[in-house]
């Protein structure tokens, strides 16, 4: 059967067609659609498919399933694997009975991530096999293959996707007449294996791990590499590539009509020694891969070139212009780089990512800055939509999930002359905010933590959260109080004076606290169709041009997308973008130039 699928949807079909019965993970671009698609596909099947509070939790829930003999998988983005890595490093020693596929989506080019780390490195570090698909079709095929290899060798297998696979679309041929095999897992006690302890237990598993890797290398050669070597024409030089990079290289060779052997590696780790033998048959071997030099390091020898020899670029996303640059540098091609732009852009007007019109985060940052002035404050923040509060200069630091809380603690010790006021989203707080909050409470750190509670994981497409799913049984206020913190609650109103007045109360209370003061701001996401209606009054704004003095307060301190200067040098509101939240009318403008539209 042929379907037009996005890479992530293809992976979900691959999981279904591998009889996957348990799937968990945490949302993160570009991986999020895998679990949501799998939930839709398995709606009527006895399958567990749920978002976890974080990647480590999701990994462990699913991994236990694989120990109990069912096929299981976990999904996350590359930085999510950092969180789940503790579990991964040990799971690779212990292994599994049902298959365990670890799906990680990388983001070469930092499109929506803090790092462009290559998860294949993590597979190598953990000593587990990794498959590196080029297209959505391969994403489907390799998901099934990963499950098969995982079951065969009783090891976790990584499927490493990247943004250009996860978020690309093509026609994918999937299995016809697939029948889901029902049946439950059965945990079989094997204390020596499942609870192997240092030193003897883990030492023997380490030897087993090495033996297993040798067998997987053989499999990699026989099943995946050898058939491709047969197709090679023994040209003078060779290019070795994998994943998305292979797609770019293949297109370049076709479009420039170059006759150079190109070997595609499906499983970049572990690589068999036969590959080192093959390399000897060529004068020069160029490795082109995305993002880190994984294959290149594995087959390192005098005639192997790539990132480590500075022939291939080391940072940022691959493109054909860069592939040709590498070919020119090494001398595989002499001629024009046809992938250089013909038309250049002078004076580009770029649109910065911005908080949506009507987003309450904007009001919170505006109010925080009014009450806690920048010169006397430090604003640590976290990972989510609200990171865009950076446009209002309401954010000083961004590190990783949950770090706003622990860094607020650290700043409160290091710089006692400033008030530390940190911001974190509800989902990020559940993900990794509680451990640092408990730490701060018991060590009596003095700072303010504002939890921006829109009851959804907004940035990645509004996935559900524990609080929303349990209708308040798991509640941010109760959790923060349970951690021992003092808590103040704000029920958001689309009136900036209300929000500012609330933060003035926060300031008063803070003066008398001895530990961290938590603010839970109950608000909403404008894109959340279920809840947004109750919050947005639908009063649209316009500008009284006589009052507008072009002072820039709205464009630099409030930064709402519909607001811009018109030809007369006055602020204007784009009616197509305005959602009618009316906050600007309530008092953003020092000269009260924003007025309701129907009063004009």
């Amino acid at each position: 059967m042929k379907l037009t699928l996005m890479g992530n949807e293809a992976i979900a079909y691959g999981l279904l067609h591998s009889n996957t019965k348990m799937l968990s993970g945490y949302p993160g671009t570009p991986s999020s659609e895998i679990l949501t698609t799998f939930q839709k596909l398995t709606k009527d099947l006895p399958v567990y498919a749920q978002w976890a509070t974080n990647e480590k939790v999701g990994f462990e829930v699913a991994y236990a399933g694989a120990i109990a003999g069912v096929n299981a998988a976990a999904t996350m983005k590359q930085v999510g694997l950092n969180v789940a890595s503790d579990a991964l490093m040990s799971a690779s020693f212990i292994g599994n009975l049902g298959s365990f596929v670890l799906i990680v989506a990388d983001d070469p080019g930092f499109n929506s991530s803090q790092t462009e780390q290559d998860s294949r490195e993590f597979a190598r570090f953990a000593r587990i096999p990794v498959l590196d698909p080029t297209t959505p079709q391969e994403a489907y095929d390799f998901t099934k293959l990963a499950s098969k290899i995982s079951e065969l060798f009783e090891t976790p297998v990584m499927l490493r996707s990247v943004m250009r696979v996860s978020h690309s679309r093509e026609i994918v041929e999937i299995e016809d007449n697939f029948e889901f095999k029902e049946g439950e897992g059965e945990f079989k006690r094997d204390i020596k294996r499942w609870a192997a302890v240092p030193r003897a237990g883990r030492l023997s598993q380490a030897y087993e791990q090495l033996q297993r890797l040798e067998k997987i290398k053989e499999y990699n050669y026989k099943e995946l590499i050898a058939p491709k070597i047969k197709e090679l024409k023994n040209t003078e030089n060779l290019i070795i590539s994998s994943g998305t990079a292979y797609g770019y290289v293949k297109e370049v060779l076709q479009e420039l009509d170059l006759n150079i052997d190109l070997l595609k590696i499906d499983m970049p780790y572990p690589l068999p020694s036969n590959l080192n033998e093959l390399v000897k048959n060529y004068k020069k071997v160029l490795v082109i891969e995305e993002t880190y030099p994984v294959i290149e390091e594995e087959i390192r020898s005098e005639n192997v070139y790539g990132k480590m020899s500075n022939h291939v670029h080391s940072v940022d996303e691959m493109n054909k212009e860069r592939v040709v640059e590498a070919l020119l540098k090494i001398g595989f091609y002499e001629g024009e780089n046809i992938y250089k732009p013909v038309f250049s852009v002078s004076n580009p007007k770029t649109r910065k990512p911005n908080l949506c019109p009507g987003c309450p985060h904007r009001d919170i940052y505006f109010a925080i800055k009014k009450v806690f002035r920048p010169k006397k404050s430090i604003y640590p923040s976290d990972i989510g939509c609200y990171t865009l509060g950076i446009n209002l200069e309401g954010i000083d630091t961004v590190l990783c999930m949950g770090a706003s809380v622990s860094m607020a603690h650290g700043f409160s010790i290091a710089d006692k002359n400033k008030t530390v006021i940190a911001t974190i989203g509800d989902s990020t707080f559940f993900h990794s905010g509680t451990a640092p909050l408990i730490n701060a409470v018991y060590q009596k750190a003095k700072f303010i933590l504002v939890i921006l509670d829109n009851s959804t994981t907004a940035m990645t497409g509004r996935q559900t959260t524990p609080q929303r799913e349990t209708k308040g049984e798991v509640d941010l206020k109760k959790v923060a109080e349970g951690c021992g913190a003092e808590v103040m609650e704000y029920f958001y109103k689309p009136d900036i004076n209300e929000t500012i007045n609330f933060f003035k109360e926060v300031k008063k209370r803070y003066e008398n606290t001895k530990g961290p003061l938590v603010v839970v701001s109950r608000q909403y996401c404008v894109l959340d169709k279920e809840r947004a209606k109750e919050f947005i009054p639908g009063i649209f704004a316009t500008v009284d041009e006589e009052k507008c003095v072009a002072c820039d307060v709205c464009t630099t301190q409030y930064v709402c997308p519909p607001m811009h200067y018109n030809e007369k040098g006055k602020i204007e509101i784009d009616p197509l973008l305005c959602v009618g939240c009316s906050v600007c009318i309530s008092g953003i403008c020092p000269t009260d130039a924003f007025i309701p539209k129907d009063e004009k």
Partner: protein, 174 residues
């Protein structure tokens, strides 16, 4: 057959809908294709562009100087995406006027037409697709093929979209 299209706009303009229409057109004709979207961290109002490569390709990203056609739903976004266009390629752009470059440029002020009530502003994406159908010689799909795809993806709004398409064909001829 190889044909590469860049669609440029910003969040909310319906760039992704056009990619879906073109991919359905391609799959119905039995053409291979690969498509991808670029939108970084923007939710609403940020730059969005989509690449669709029809034919025997292995990577969804269009490279500089390779696109046969650039559809610009917004003037600034079209300018930003100019490096992808090949020499002598086609541009249809929503703008009152556009840079004089070595390409077949067709600029039409669709915003103004929408404001004057020629079509509903929400259908800007379909209107510009209609302009491409009317103006671009090698456009890989026929009007009927595009209509069929639109009907399949969103049957509810298909009649309204067909109307917009028809208006675009008229305006595109002049």
């Amino acid at each position: 057959m190889k044909y590469q299209i860049v669609i440029a706009g910003f969040g909310g303009q319906g760039v992704v809908f056009l990619v879906k229409v073109l991919s359905v057109c391609a799959s119905k004709k039995g053409y291979k294709f690969l498509g991808t979207e670029n939108h970084g961290m923007s939710q609403r109002g940020g730059s969005v562009s989509s690449h669709i490569k029809i034919g025997d390709f292995y990577n969804p990203l269009i490279d500089y100087a390779q696109a046969d056609l650039l559809i610009g739903l917004d003037k600034d976004e079209a300018v930003l995406n100019l490096p992808y266009l090949k020499k002598g390629g086609d541009i249809v752009v929503n703008a009152d006027e556009f840079e004089d470059i070595d390409a077949n440029v067709f600029a039409i002020d669709a915003n103004k037409l929408a404001q004057n009530g020629v079509f509903d502003a929400k259908g800007l994406n379909v209107f510009m697709l209609g302009i491409a159908l009317a103006r671009v010689k090698n456009f890989p799909f026929s009007i009927d093929e595009v209509k069929e795809a639109i009907g399949e993806i969103n049957p509810k709004f298909a009649p309204a979209n067909f109307e917009i398409l028809q208006k675009a064909l008229e305006y595109g001829k002049n």
